[in-house]
Subunit: 166 residues, 2 copies
DNA sequence: TTAAATTATGTTATATTGTATTATTACTGT
DNA sequence: ACAGTAATAATACAATATAACATAATTTAA
């Protein structure tokens, strides 16, 4: 099993995260230019905040962070920015956590399949065609036409699993 | 493709729903007796209310219904009952809707895979081992040990799809 | 290059969903 | 009757999300 289809794996805590954030913003910037979307300062800032960690962030955490910037902010502000980011694929919403996480590959539209570590809270994103295809087929067999797949899996990431075996 | 692994398919609107509810309560009753769980009047009533339709119900709708019974009820009342029902597999929580739906087969533990019609809101439940297995394998390949799978799919059920092709 | 239209944001208020906590009641077995 | 456990009641609050309307910024197009 060499195919992995991993859009973003669990990141070691010591990776160069500044570069990581910068890259996400750079890509978003380019994609928006190409698609004629408006990555306004607010939206850009929210995206940056979402990328502060490789784990889901709640809307109200983002709100606090925006307020920390000195600017006034209220729920609609952050929810609107999130709507834009989610709608255009820069951020995914994790339904089972009511939280948001940066997308590992915003260039092409997809739903993503999420592995959520219950211990360290980090998230990995897969986009495995075999999984989506199988689900689509099974649904089709019932006459169901899929428009969106939500696949969120909880458990222990490799690192936490090893650490747990004391 | 004859294997379907469907725990509960989309029910036609004209099926005998009274029987349907009665059956669900009967099964829950039997399972509880067997496992020495206490299906108290409150829990039983909440389960019954969840089964009023084959579509997800919000906790606060249940709360209103309980109040409609004449009894006093507050959020913890319904959430505790739901916790019990979910924990013991009589009801599933649909994360993407913050809502609850009756389980089509509470006799054995499982996560369920849900098809949610965006038009009529009805839900079908599958429990397809091929799907869970594939996801488990892909996750394992990343060193991830799964404890729970959340699979919720939105789209159009067969009936609504036909109707849409005007 | 203004006016109109569109899009984005600000602002206030409120709706919805979910928990923590403490107290009380009702069963279970001795 | 009593201790131990499970269930429920009751209050308060935390967390998440949207409605509705006002203003500002940006784009379009005359």
């Amino acid at each position: 099993m060499t195919d992995k289809n991993v859009l973003s794996d669990f990141r070691p805590n010591d990776h160069n995260h500044e570069a990581c954030i910068a890259a996400a913003l750079e890509i978003a910037s380019a994609v928006c230019r190409e698609r004629e979307l408006r990555l306004t300062p607010l939206r850009r800032r929210v995206l940056e905040l979402v990328w502060q960690q490789h784990m889901p962030v709640g809307a109200y955490d983002l709100l606090d962070a925006l307020r920390g910037d000195g600017r006034r902010a209220d729920p609609p502000t952050v929810y609107r920015a999130l709507d834009f980011l989610v709608e255009n694929g820069f951020v995914h919403r994790i339904e089972s956590l009511n939280a948001y996480v940066g997308c590992g590959e915003p260039e092409h539209a997809h739903n993503g399949q999420f592995l959520i570590c219950g211990n360290c809270s980090r998230v990995a994103e897969m986009e495995d065609p075999a999984i989506s295809k199988l689900i689509r087929e099974k649904a089709n067999a019932l006459g169901f036409r899929i428009s969106q797949q939500t696949i969120e899996v909880t458990g222990l990431c490799g690192e936490c699993r090893e650490r747990a075996q004391t």
